[in-house]
């Protein structure tokens, strides 16, 4: 049994513009000790998927209308809220993108880390403080004894993200959901934070769901990748397979559009248009209005191609092995 099994998750938003299928049948699994990357551009449903897992979708307008989210065999989608509270922050933790706005400005960082510990572990304040100190030290905050009494505004962006990680990991969760944890940070700090997550993952055998739009981060940190487009899974594969053999035209397009894959100064490959808003998702394959390989057939829901080893593609006209090999060959 996988640590987390998301099965045909459907999260829709009920608005004046109608029922918006932001996440519409997403399935994937995360094993213990594994890092799964969820990638896609803005509006593809990455964050809604993550927030659905912990039922943090504001309701209304949002609602999980179908599917199961099995965490260690229990369905989070239907679990009573008081039981879910014991899972949140304890067995599953989240790190958000914005370290600047995710911390409460009127409490010290120590208070905020201790809150989670006191809530989920049977310890006294004294002990919680020493766990908090230990966590701050682990995540590389200088002088934890002094920093623990600082307020968020007294820290830099990188330090705040470290505090968020300390808070998320203070109860040694089995699953960490990291929603664009390094997007707001500089590359040298990003490298530190990703390394830190990897290190803590190794010691705890923690599963990590890493949401990002940065394919470089995916290549370096993930074991498995789920490519989302307009609320659906386009392709899923091991990280090595995905970059070696991109098979969905959208994945192939994304990889080709990266400036580091092109010759300097040459024109970049582009995918026409942009991700449609959930009000305008096309019929059938949702990529059909931007896809260079689209045919009338693409007006119907695309079939699954199973390439083995967990490499799955939902497309009427997937790239052949030769075509995708030619793409990754260009990178030489």
């Amino acid at each position: 049994m996988a640590l987390l099994e998301v099965d045909n998750l459907q999260t829709h938003f009920f608005t004046d513009k109608g029922q918006l299928p932001s996440v519409d049948g997403v399935s994937f699994e995360i094993e213990k000790g594994e890092t799964v990357g969820i990638v896609g551009e803005s509006g593809c449903g990455k964050s809604v998927t993550a927030m659905s897992i912990l039922r943090l979708i504001p309701q209304p307008p949002g609602r999980i209308v179908g599917g199961q989210i099995r965490f260690k065999g229990r369905d989070l989608a239907t679990m009573p809220i008081d039981q879910l509270r014991k899972v949140r922050g304890n067995e599953i933790s989240v790190i958000f993108q914005e370290p600047m706005t995710s911390l409460n400005p009127v409490y010290t960082v120590g208070d905020q880390i201790m809150e989670a510990i006191l809530l989920h572990q049977a310890v006294e304040e004294e002990a919680a403080r020493s766990i908090a100190l230990e966590m701050l030290d682990k995540v590389g905050i200088p002088e934890p004894v002094i920093s623990i009494d600082k307020y968020p505004h007294q820290m830099s962006g990188g330090q705040k993200q470290r505090v968020m990680i300390a808070m998320a990991l203070s109860c040694q969760p089995d699953l960490l959901i990291a929603d664009e944890p390094t997007t707001a940070l500089d590359v040298t700090i990003q490298a530190q934070i990703l390394e830190l997550i990897r290190e803590l993952q190794r010691t705890n055998d923690m599963g990590v769901m890493l949401i990002t739009h940065d394919l470089g981060v995916v290549a370096e940190s993930c074991d498995k990748v789920v490519v989302l487009y307009a609320g659906r899974v386009a392709e899923t594969a091991s990280a090595v397979d995905l970059f070696d053999r991109p098979t969905h035209p959208y994945t192939a397009g994304l990889l080709q559009a990266l400036p580091d894959r092109a010759n300097p100064g040459a024109r970049l490959y582009t995918i026409d248009g942009m991700v449609p808003p959930p009000t305008d998702f096309p019929q059938g394959c949702r990529f059909n209005n931007r896809c260079p390989r689209a045919t009338p057939e693409c007006q119907t829901v695309p079939p699954l191609h199973d390439l083995g080893d967990g490499h799955k593609v939902w497309c009427h006209h997937p790239l052949s092995a030769e075509e995708s090999a030619a793409l990754s060959g260009e990178d030489a």
Partner: protein, 348 residues
């Protein structure tokens, strides 16, 4: 665009010793207690039709540098020679006329367009002000052409900014910048807020316009894969100063400064098989209000020595048009590989 023969090999923009300090006031009497030394004496050239990328982390002063050389904020010291004039010396009226030739594209496509003006007004008004169009009507017509040039439909001139997506707004910002037929455009993180597929579209557009208008760009960005793709020359900034300035090829194949090497090694590559060893820099960038003594990078540099905290390093020319400001290159020009050197020192 014709320039006299003599100017052709001259830099289009020549920046020397540019400084911008922001004062810090404290207490009831608002006494000046110090300065944030955002840009602290930088010099570089931009040649005609050249793209210079300015890179560095948050707080290194790259945005301030771009704005103070256009005098969108007033620099404290230094010269910026452009079209035979020193920009910081220009009287307001002269500066206004000069603006035609130097434009900027901002990072945030959501806050850089006036929400109460139509796209036609946004692009057309500067054309009227600078006398390129006789009236607003003629300007609208020119705006339509410009919109088509940046890949949008001509009829969009009557629409308002909120009706467009981020990528489309960035195209409008580009149309506004090229409307006056400038020589030089500062692109301040112009593609950073865009998704990969849209970013590629906008980068292609910028490259096309560069060829068409013979433009020079100062491309301010933190994204090194974009830098590698678009730039002819790269200026690496750290804490308000230039660390290294070199042609694109040299920066990416033979980076000299330890900071440049660390920055390049920190960029994740979209290739799971090519995992590299990283130069991990400890800690954060120090505060520009109280920069470290000597070489400003010494607090994070893996190869720092005693002299690095004591003496300010000189600028060394280590190759053709390749300048590095680092003590390691006192009397040597060959690159020192930081990881190898760290291993060697550990062994010794």
């Amino acid at each position: 665009m014709t320039r006299p023969q003599s100017e052709r090999t001259e830099p289009l923009v020549k920046v020397r010793g540019l400084k911008k300090y922001f004062p810090i006031f404290k207490g009831f009497f608002r006494q000046r207690v110090g300065d944030v030394k955002a840009v602290d004496g930088i010099s570089f050239d931009i040649m005609p039709a050249e793209t210079v990328a300015m890179v560095g982390e948050s707080g290194c002063g790259k945005t301030t540098a771009g704005r103070s050389l256009l005098r969108l904020i007033e620099p404290n010291a230094g010269t910026v020679h452009f079209r035979g004039k020193n920009i910081p010396d220009l009287a307001p009226e002269e500066l206004r006329k000069m603006r035609r030739y130097m434009q900027i594209i901002f990072q945030d496509p959501y806050s850089s367009l006036n929400p109460r003006q139509t796209i036609g007004q946004i692009i057309g008004t500067p054309l009227v002000l600078h006398g390129l169009a006789k009236n607003q009507r003629e300007a609208e017509g020119m705006a339509k052409e410009l919109l088509e040039k940046v890949g949008l439909q001509a009829r969009y001139t009557s629409r308002y900014p909120h009706e467009f997506s981020g990528g489309q707004r960035q195209r409008i910002g580009i149309a506004r910048a090229v409307a006056l037929n400038p020589d030089f455009i500062v692109c301040d993180e112009a593609v950073s807020a865009l998704d990969v597929s849209v970013q590629a579209q906008v980068l292609n557009l910028l490259l096309d316009l560069k060829d068409e208008y013979n433009l020079s760009y100062l491309f301010i960005t933190h994204d090194l894969s974009v830098v590698r793709h678009v730039s002819d020359r790269v200026v690496v900034m750290y804490l308000g100063q230039v660390a290294e300035n070199a042609p694109n090829k040299a920066i990416f194949s033979k980076p000299r400064h330890p900071y440049t090497q660390a920055l390049l090694s920190a960029v994740p590559r979209a290739d799971p098989r090519r995992k590299r060893q990283r130069i991990m820099l400890p800690g954060d960038v120090p505060k520009p209000s109280n920069p470290p003594s000597g070489c400003r990078f010494h607090t994070r540099c893996p190869l720092a020595e005693a002299r690095c905290s004591q003496a300010v390093p000189d600028a060394h020319e280590v190759g053709e048009d390749h300048i590095v400001v680092c003590h390691l290159y006192d009397g040597r020009t060959e690159p020192i590989d930081v990881l190898e050197e760290m291993a060697r020192r550990k062994g010794a």
